[in-house]
């Protein structure tokens, strides 16, 4: 599966040889996917329940969006606190088609019993009232104009998050908003979007969101146990491609420039690089990857609603990447997989309660506290996250002869201090 995708770039050596991490990663991913398939209910011996296969598939999508996050944050120094907006938009884009098509089939089915054959207007009205009855509307909002077409909605999965990132990024980077300001701005962006979607007249069913997405139109006879494995494979493929693409982008000179922007934006600018264009490129690319991840995630989750775009979701994304170790792609993947699976375990009530005398710590309630505290601990004591452990193993300690602190925020300050 992976070999054919890797023949793309080869400056001196193929990318895989320069970055063996790709091979290791692909091998692990392939092993995992095949393993899960063998253990699944749909194709294998049924040791893993279908819902858990879905959880694993969703986790792969979260890994992909974490990868996208690492690209902008770990490599380019843009702490985006609004990346789940792109993820959600991707989900909404595919969800619109899934919901439209499935409702259309149902409506056509129900109308076939009528004396007269249905007219297109009747069908369209029927779908609209089915979908929007819950928000008291019965007409299609303009944004559903292409919902009937799978190719166009698939294009929207890429274009809508991409365009939003392009426009937002153009405004933000052009005015040289950086650091925490930019983070807050991205957070405001996702908050604005979520609040907008919460309205009933947003055209996307308000806080009801889109539902029933797990049912693929026209494939009603295929059991979910099979569909779940299909999506697992699709997610794994997307993650593999995403990993390869991200590795290619951050390798070589482009990666050098990105890391340069992260560490000292002004210096890169004085080298003659149009920093804003680079940021815009990476931000948009990352948004597109996030959109694709979302488009794969929500059919597995079955439902999407505006709460998915709330700022807290994007913050959790940052938490995953930070715990996994930012600035290294596998770190983001490991962090997302580790924390989200652990979170599922704790909040699913599977973790045993801890009894302290009269106190009984139930993890369903206390898991978030643990997550918050461990996040603080990681930031304080292990800024490299889980990925840092690999450095210890590989004995690749960083140079201890650092000069002054570097970073997008402190570069200018330090420079100024030195001049005083």
């Amino acid at each position: 599966m992976t070999d054919s995708t890797l023949s793309g770039a080869s400056p001196r050596q193929p990318l895989v040889l320069r970055f063996p991490a790709i091979l290791i990663f692909m091998a692990c991913l392939a092993l995992f996917t095949v393993g899960v398939t063998i253990l699944s209910e749909g194709f294998g011996i049924g040791l893993i329940s279908t819902s858990f296969v879905k959880t694993l598939g969703k986790t792969l999508c979260l890994c992909l969006v974490a990868l996208a996050m690492d690209l902008v944050w770990g490599y380019c120094g843009i702490l985006s606190l609004g990346h789940m907006a792109f993820f959600g938009l991707g989900g909404y884009a595919i969800g619109m088609w899934l919901m439209y098509e499935r409702t259309r089939l149902i409506v056509v089915e129900s109308m076939s019993a009528q004396a007269l054959p249905p007219t297109p207007e009747q069908i369209s009205d029927g779908i609209a009232s089915q979908i929007f009855g819950v928000v008291g509307a019965s007409e299609f909002p303009p944004i559903w104009a292409v919902a009937h077409s799978l190719p166009l909605q698939l294009a929207a999965v890429v274009l809508v998050p991409g365009l939003l990132a392009l426009v937002f990024g153009w405004f933000a980077f052009r005015s040289r908003v950086t650091g925490v300001y930019l983070s807050i701005l991205t957070q405001a962006m996702t908050l604005a979007l979520a609040l907008y979607l919460f309205q009933n007249d947003s055209g996307l069913r308000g806080n009801n969101g889109l539902s029933g997405l797990q049912n693929l139109p026209g494939l009603g006879n295929v059991p979910q146990s099979v569909v779940s494995v299909w999506f697992l494979w699709a997610s794994a493929l997307a993650l593999a491609l995403g990993f390869w693409l991200a590795t290619w982008v951050v390798s070589g000179k482009f990666g050098s420039v990105l890391r340069g922007i992260r560490d000292d934006e002004a210096r890169v600018r004085f080298l003659g690089y149009p920093v804003e264009s680079y940021k815009l490129f990476v931000f948009t690319l990352s948004a597109v990857i996030a959109g694709i991840a979302g488009a794969l995630y929500y059919p597995q989750a079955g439902i999407i609603n505006p709460a998915e775009l709330a700022p807290i979701a994007s913050i959790y994304l940052a938490v995953w990447v930070a715990i996994g170790g930012r600035g290294r792609l596998y770190g983001a993947v490991i962090g997302a997989a580790f924390v989200s699976l652990l979170s599922t375990w704790f909040t699913g009530g599977q973790a045993p309660d801890i009894v302290l005398g009269n106190w009984r710590i139930q993890w369903v309630d206390w898991w978030t506290v643990l997550l918050g505290v461990s996040f603080v601990a990681v930031t304080l004591f292990a800024p490299k996250g889980i990925g840092g452990l690999f450095d210890l193993l590989a004995d690749r300690l960083t140079p201890n002869r650092h000069g002054a602190d570097l970073g997008p925020d402190q570069g200018a300050l330090r420079e100024k201090e030195a001049s005083e």
Partner: protein, 651 residues
């Protein structure tokens, strides 16, 4: 025997009737008008009513009231008038008008009841109003005016005008005069009179005035081939516009019998289904009827066959609509009066809008002060120390919960709020200092990591609060003396609690300025902000200053929490609701300047209220647009309203 008994009874019963004062002036007056009194007719009764009303006799009012209530009876024998209550079908209890003396129970055979019709009763009522309006008793006069205000009639106008001249109470006189003008607007005899009355109300916003004016400008939609060129045409409408949907316009033509009826898709389909003949409708295969055009054709065929009524097709509807002009004519008043009323209403609308703007400004200021309270602590930690504290919202929440706990212990609301404020400060101050010592100290000059670490704390604190206090909203009750609102007029008002929050915001501004500019701590804080190394070498302990500054900022957040809790509900997520707005406030205002924060809060508050006003149904959309605006705003002033310039800006 029975008959004898009856006669006997009658005799006995009629005995007291003889005691009636036949020569009393009122009775004489009544006798003069006996004909109309007994059998009033709408056209001829007026002189009678005027005579009684104008007699100046003390009993006149009673006569009119009883007459109006159909309680006037005439003795068929003597022709004398009494008033009486019916006891049962056969007997009445009579009274003499003169002196109101009781005449006892009487058989009703001997009396004829006067039954004025409703038109006459109205005329009597108008005459009665005059009595009430000129009554000795102020309460009666007030009731009369109240009644007219509630349910005015044209006939009230004349007595009201007369009563104004004799009215002695200044307040009642003012009310009566206003009422007279309102009645003139509605019932005035000449157009000039009415227009003059309307114009006399210039500058008035009263609901009663609007109530009087509104019926005058009612219109009716009419259609004709050519729009008439008269003053009665209020406006010309285009079918298919927002004011006149195409269907409504066409339905008007249909209702006037000008056009053929139209049919809805569903009715058409039903008609077709009803006429299915085997596999076809009117010879057209059912299976081909899967477009509206095909159905139209099938229906037309049915209509040709005469099975169904012909209906207008869409092109026909368009054609017919094109042939007619649609316009509205004034029906509530003569055109000149209606136009004057419309002008007056427009003027009122403008002034109402101005007043609403004032009310909105008050709302905006109070929302701004809430944001200011929420943001001021953040402005201190972010602006002065350059530390992003994402847990700031949770400090607000902690303060609010402190207030809640205090109220659980101390039931007296005033005392508990007074106690809660310093306690909330203490609790959040301690939390802030602990956080600074344990976490933030290690992350100075790494803002992004500070942001993340404080996020971790924020998540944890929120969940802890949820675990302790549960997810439901907890009330924080304001003291009773903060209930209610300060009302300026019908439109402009503000609740006391908002005023209190505004005052609190001003207090904090003063406190902040005092601490920063007048105390040793403020001096040291400013020194550390500007140059930590220099400050350290001058004997200031930057660690201590940072700790205190952070504690101070957090403590203010706690107090803000109490204030916000009084105004909104206390939940574990309340901090998150304010954190983004607080950041917006600080960012928009400009970092490191308290005046900037003040301006930012005012701007963000007014913006939110302004957008809500433009789109009142939707506060969510308002927040969306506000955030979009702020994102754009930052384009043009990336460093906020009050930006530090030059070298200082880069620190």
């Amino acid at each position: 025997m029975a008959r004898l008994l009856l006669i006997l009874t009658l005799l006995i019963a009629s005995l007291p009737a003889a005691a009636q004062q036949a020569d009393a002036p009122i009775q004489q007056l009544l006798q003069e008008h006996a004909g109309q009194l007994a059998k009033p007719s709408r056209t001829k009764v007026a002189p009678t009513i005027d005579a009684i009303a104008g007699s100046g006799l003390p009993e006149a009012q009673t006569v009119l009231r009883k007459w109006q209530d159909k309680e006037l009876w005439q003795n068929t024998e003597t022709g004398l008038f009494i008033w009486a209550e019916e006891i049962d079908r056969d007997t009445i209890r009579g009274f003499d008008f003169a002196g109101d003396t009781a005449l006892g129970e009487l058989p009703d055979d001997a009396f004829e009841q006067s039954k004025p019709n409703s038109g006459v009763r109205k005329m009597i009522g108008a005459a009665l109003v005059k009595f009430q309006l000129t009554a000795e008793d102020v309460a009666t006069r007030r009731t009369a005016i109240d009644n007219i205000e509630r349910d005015a009639e044209a006939s009230h106008l004349a007595p009201l005008r007369e009563a104004i001249e004799t009215e002695t109470s200044p307040t009642l006189k003012a009310r009566a005069e206003r009422l007279e003008r309102l009645l003139t607007i509605r019932f005035g005899e000449t157009e000039e009179e009415r227009i003059a009355a309307i114009e006399g109300f210039q500058g008035d916003l009263g609901v009663d005035l609007r109530g009087a004016l509104n019926p005058l400008v009612t219109t009716r939609l009419e259609a004709a081939e050519v729009t008439p060129d008269g003053p009665e045409v209020a406006r010309v409408l285009k079918p298919g516009s927002e004011a006149l949907p195409r269907e409504d316009a066409y339905d008007l033509l249909v209702s006037e019998g000008i056009a053929k009826p139209r049919i809805s898709r569903a009715d058409k389909a039903a008609a077709l289904v009803a006429n299915i003949d085997g596999e076809a409708v009117a010879g057209i295969q059912v299976a081909t009827l899967d477009t509206e055009d095909a159905r139209d054709m099938a229906y037309a065929k049915l209509a040709e066959q005469g099975t169904v009524d012909p209906v207008a097709t869409e092109p026909e509807i368009d054609e017919t609509l094109g042939e007619y002009a649609f316009y509205e004519v004034f029906t509530g008043a003569p055109p000149a009066v209606a136009l004057a009323a419309m002008d007056a209403l427009n003027g009122i609308e403008t002034r109402v809008a101005v007043n609403q703007a004032a009310d909105l400004a008050l709302d905006a200021i109070s929302l701004g002060s809430i944001y200011f309270l929420a943001a001021i602590g953040l402005a201190i930690t972010f602006g002065v120390m350059g530390v992003i504290n994402m847990a700031h919202g949770e400090f607000i929440m902690m303060g609010a919960y402190t207030g809640f706990v205090v109220q659980q212990i101390i039931p007296d609301q005033t005392l508990s709020v007074i106690l809660a404020i310093p306690l909330a400060f203490a609790v959040t101050f301690a939390a802030g200092v602990a956080m600074e010592r344990l976490v933030i100290r290690w992350l100075y000059h790494r803002p992004l990591e500070t942001l993340l670490a404080t996020f971790g704390i924020s998540i944890a604190l929120q969940q802890i609060a949820k675990n302790i206090f549960g997810t439901q909203a907890r009330p924080l009750t304001a003291p009773g003396w903060l209930d209610g609102s300060l009302v300026f007029n019908d439109i402009v008002s503000i609740s006391y609690i908002r005023i209190a929050i505004f005052v609190l915001a001003l207090l904090f501004l003063a406190l902040f300025l005092l601490v920063m500019n007048r105390t040793r701590l403020g001096l040291e804080v400013r020194a550390v902000t500007q140059n930590p190394r220099m400050a350290a070498s001058m004997g200031i302990n930057p660690d201590r200053i940072n700790m205190l500054t952070f504690g101070f900022g957090s403590g203010i957040a706690g107090i803000a929490g109490v204030a916000i809790g009084l105004y909104a509900k206390v939940t574990s997520e309340m901090g998150a609701d304010y954190i983004v707005q607080s950041f917006m406030t600080v960012v928009v205002g400009g970092v490191g300047n308290i005046w900037g924060t003040l301006l930012g809060a005012t701007l963000v508050g007014s913006l939110q209220k302004g957008i809500e006003w433009l789109n009142p149904s939707n506060t969510l959309a308002a927040q969306t647009y506000m955030i979009l605006f702020i994102i754009l705003f930052i384009q043009f002033r990336p460093r906020g309203i009050i930006a530090l310039k030059g070298r200082a800006a880069e620190a």
